[in-house]
Amino acid sequence: MSTKVGERALPTGRARRPSASEPESQNKRGMRAGTRQQGIATPWLFLAPYLLLFGSFVILPAVLGVWISLHSWDYTLPNKPFVGLDNYVALFSPGSTVSGPFWGSMRATGIFTVLSVPLLLIVPLAVALLMSKKFPGRDFLRAIYFAPYVLGVAVISVLWRYLLDNNIGLVNHYLGLLGLPDDTAWTTTTPAAWVALVGVTVWWTLGFNAVIYLAGLQDIPIELYEAARVDGAGPWLQFLHVTIPGLRPILSFITIITLLASANMFGQSYLMTQGGPGRETRTAIYQIADTGLRNFQMGSAAAMSYVLTIFLMAISAFVFYIFREKQPKKLEREVRS
């Protein structure tokens, strides 16, 4: 098959190569055939640099990871014996040395995700709705809400560990002024540490989601709102029947990226709570990175990463499924009529 493709492409290639220097007539012949076509190698030459990187650092590792997970792969030892599915079996055997810490970290990731995702879906939507109409200073406000996001996880974590310091931190100081308990150990006790991790993350990434919502809101045709208003729908009904259905694709996108981001939480826990108290806020990513890259138990860590991945993909598929219902069209029609 490939020879056929090559033969077909050759004449075009021949006509194209001299096109820069040779007579016009030949040039045009090449053009007519070539508005949609080019030498067979051309697209691949464009793609080559990227595919080299993509193959080496995305595709190869994705496959190599499976291979590693099937071995007792200690980076520091010369022998890496094949162990089949032992690494996976160990993760699912209660009482094995790896299963306790791993599922503990999965639990931490689960707690963080369940607490942070709803907030990161609702609060930015509220902000975006408040900002959806033009008013003086809107772009400035939008920039302020977005600003924490450009700082990166290391900066915001170091900053908030200071603000949440239980003796000299700003947060406890102001809580005290309000007559509330002023000695909460935000980074060393639970549940306070969860409040801190979730709160800081919401502060950090709220603007990111709000900006995406805002773009989505601006894509909803104004006529739909006008039609709804003419039909007597108040703000709440407009929100339910125009805004929400209009945002459906954006909602599914934001839900998925927020879920994945929360489930990949690492830096906040690493820098603010050091995974503590005990291992309570040590997330799955933290556990995987530490097992594989600190203790060099790479086989086990790779197995953990695939288990986590399967969880995340199942959840993503579920989210896609939820948002794929066909209700919005019905609603839209109703609003239009």
Binding site: V150, V155, L237, A289
Partner: protein
Amino acid sequence: MSNFTKTKTTTTTTTTTVRAGARARRGSGSITRVVVLGAIAIAFISPIIFMIVTSLKTRADATAIPPSWIPNPISLQAFASILAPGTATPVLQWFANSMVAAALNATLVVITASLAAYPLARMQFRGKNFVFVIIVATLLVPPVILVIPNYLIVSELGWLNSLVAIIIPTAASAFGVFFMRQFFVGLPIELEEAARLDGANRFVIFMQVVLPLAKPALATLALLAFLGNWNDFLWPVYVLFSPEVQTLPAGLSTLQSANAVRYDLLMAGAVVASVPVLALFIFLQRFIIEGVSRSGVKG
């Protein structure tokens, strides 16, 4: 839904009054809106202000109770001590490392992603859909499965504990390809066709016709890549272990473990790590924000 149909029939008579009311409400509503949003915005930005304030305090002032919003005296001690050469936490070196890494990484991303995106947007060839689907599919694959094997690959290449490890592997940006392809698809094709009739080859068209039109998108992608690399945390923490090769985020972690409660120093380090990205954001925020919002609309 049923509520809605009900209101539809009952409110036709009151529409005029509702409208007049709505106009009046909109006036005062927008003032309330600005005040509420403004107040939240001040609270929102205050942690960043306090970070800068604290970096200008003396050691004693930084831990004084009650905490003050004005450094007394204003002191550059913290900066002087973290930027001094020959410490175990060479912040200046980290700054240089971060700059070099982020700039080279962003350059690589822009070059490889725009080159790859062009045929995916404009050429017909066998395997095109396959390549595009594979690239886009990896956007949904959690990056965690790549960390362990990439560590081995990087180690095999001899890049461990070297800046190359954070410049090259992360340059395989699926998002970049997707983003540039969407942009190229949206460009009018006429100019390219005209150039083809003039006999220009694909590469010349790409360089001289397409790229000049794509400047805003290229700038956006370069900025997002720069920010992403500048702020990347997990990967540098594990692949760069000597202080002199670390980047600022990994370095901040080292600084924190070396000076647990020297908040003046930690905040000064955080400010050093923030200045370039905040400056980029202040001057080029339109590109950044539009880049982010476009990723959502087209995702």
